[in-house]
């Protein structure tokens, strides 16, 4: 796989506090990369820098060999999905997905067709006339994803997109997300603080702690060779604890 996005020595401070400390990594073409870290470690800040909503203090971002560090957010060929979706509440599902297209010189008829295709891809064709407030959390989530995908970004950033959903919806959304990625060949960078989610979804996981990268590798390698104490405690021990409590329950049931 070739390198799609290269981040070199990106730093960001708010006043005295350094939020990102010279972060460097890359994302491969078509990869599913998770960014895993505790609350406040700088994940959202990093995503906002990647899409261009924030300027880094130092460092460079390259996409397909082009320097995009200072490019406008909509000129990067990237999309972003926020945790709270930020849907346009006064617009229907169709209008939500279609609205941005008219600012990109896409003819009306094409825009409508693109939007309908995208809505079909996320499985909402029966709901195109509904308003966001009449949709379930998972459905709103899908509208946000369709709205982002409609512009054909080759990289999609997702900031804790599942954290507002219930467990069952989360599990089914995982599958759908992977399906969409396969269908469109999009590179996905997925921010989460849920260890299990990161391990279930990712080609590679990047583990962050207080603005620094601890380790970036495949789930298997991280399991086998945790880079430092933080990875061991925050990631592996936590996962182990989950497995332990579950297996106790399952064994208990068998025993009983």
């Amino acid at each position: 796989m070739t390198e799609k996005l290269v981040i070199e020595n990106v730093s960001k401070s708010y006043r005295e506090t350094e939020i990102l400390k010279s972060v460097s990594f890359d994302a491969k073409d078509g990869e599913f990369l998770s960014i895993l870290g505790a609350s406040g470690c700088g994940k959202t800040t990093l995503l906002r820098i990647l899409i261009g909503l924030l300027e880094p203090d130092t460092g460079k971002i390259t996409k397909d060999g082009t320097d995009i560090t200072h490019a406008a957010p909509d000129k990067r060929g990237m999309g972003i999905v926020f945790q709270n979706y930020a849907l346009f509440e006064n617009m229907t599902v169709l209008q939500n997905v279609k609205y941005a297209l008219k600012f990109h010189g896409i003819p009306k008829a094409d825009a409508e067709k693109n939007a309908l295709d995208m809505i079909a891809a996320v499985g909402l064709s029966d709901h195109i006339k509904k308003y966001p407030k009449n949709l379930s959390g998972g459905q709103q989530q899908r509208v946000a994803i369709a709205r982002t995908l409609a512009l054909n970004p080759d990289i999609v950033l997702l900031d804790e997109p599942m954290s507002a959903l219930d467990v069952a919806t989360r599990l089914s959304m995982r599958k759908e997300l992977k399906g969409l990625q396969a269908q469109f060949g999009t590179t996905m960078i997925y921010v989460t603080h849920d260890q299990e989610e990161a391990f279930a979804l990712s080609d590679r996981i990047m583990i962050m702690n207080q603005g620094e990268i601890c380790q970036i590798d495949t789930p298997e390698n991280i399991m086998r060779n945790p880079a430092d104490e933080y990875v061991r405690t925050f990631v592996i021990d936590n996962l182990q604890a989950k497995v332990d409590s579950l297996s106790k329950f399952i064994n208990g049931r068998r025993g009983g």
Binding site: H70, P73, G79, F82, F88, A100
Partner: protein, 527 residues
Amino acid sequence: MRRKNISKLIISICIALFFIVCVISPIVSMLCRITPDGFMSVVGSPQFLPAVINSVSTALIATVISLLLAISSAWCIRRTDIKLKALFSTIFVVPMLIPSISHAFGLVALFGSNGLITNLLSLDGNIYGFWGIVVGSVLYSFPVAFLMFSSILEYEDGMTYKAAEVLGIPALSRFTGITLPYLKKTIISAFFAVFTMIVTDYGVPLMIGGKTTTLSVLMYNKAVGMIDYDSGSVIGAFLLVPAVAAFIVDLLNPENSQSSFVSEKVEPKKSRMQKILSYVFCTLICVCVFAPIASFCIMVFETKYPVDPVPTLYHIQKTLSRGADKYLLNSMIYSAVTALLGTLLAFICSYITSRLNDKFSKGLHLISITSMAIPGIVLGLSYVIFFHGSPIYGTILIVILVNSIHFFASPYLMMYNTLGKVNPNLEAVGQSLGIHRLFIIKDVVIPKVRGALVEMFTYFFVNSMMTISAVSFLAPPAPKPVALMINQFEAQLLMESAAFVSIIIFVVNVLIKGVSNLIKRKLAASR
């Protein structure tokens, strides 16, 4: 990104300049007029100390009464099981639709030397003076306090009371231990807000004060009557003190626990006795609210109240022939333009302060709410001093400007809070999708806050219709606002005309309020 920064810079500079010219400079130039000699001559004059004492004592007593009435009536609405709650709460805020001077005039019409009730009960008609000011002030300040307590009581968490009841804590202790501490902040803010409102108002004391002169009337007499701006400025500075104090209290005391999560509303009491008492109390308040308006109607539609009760349209024709219709039209134009301009300005400012996080927006927020601390009468004088000789002086424009500033803070805060609740990532989503911020504002943000926009427009309009404080300094002689005629007619002993003008203002405001509520309901339903 560079172009965006430049347009943002230009907008910021324009807004900063606007506030410097329209708020800061006038106040500073008024304060600059104060010289040690001028100060001493005002403070040393024989009227000054009595005026301070009258102002503070009437305002204190009226504030306490107003707050007690407001808490009791809010209690009846929120904590008892009475019916007609919506009707009662609507009627309670009706006094907000007529000018303060009309409330005092209503008292004169009822209890004055030739008043309706004076004649009915053959009293001596001695309402003028200290107690007249107190009662008049209570009448028009009550709804403001009522609204504050009614909303805070609505959002109190009922679980606390359930828990206390289960623990066997007696009712009185529940009141002193839970309710009072919960209301403490609101009591403090309401106290300062109402006190400031009363102490800086001059409509009531001017109309009904008689020989009891308050600071605000003294300032009015000096600045408008004797064109002595130096003395006016000194008194204006004194009137700024309670307003600034109220402002600081509000700043230090901002969030009420209102925003916290309410798991369950407090269940209204089912006691029969309480219900009866509440009905009696609420009905009494309604009577007090409608008495002045009823007395205006009696005066206007009777040939010679109280001696000749034959119905007539004579007084209306007479008032119209004195130009009331033209003045009314003026006022409606002023008010509509003020409402448009004010709403636009307040929306832009609140958008910047609530949705762009930078240093400029913090400063802008502070200056936006500062206008709350400037009493209308002080703003009026400071405009006279600062804008004297400028091309807008003596035109409609300065009236519109002064009203937009005078009533800026409340609509601004309303929109600031509304926009603060709109999803913070909308603009970011727009940016990532290549939708310009202006389109996000037009197509997404504004549709979401339309109701609040209507409310802001209404607030500006209704208040511009009623205000006399700032405009009495600034109104051009020819197209005068209609509210100023109340005082003028009363001074000419044309009581029926003064009453009719009060009714006109009331009717226009009721209509505007009604239409605004209809639109808001439509908007809410269409979503």
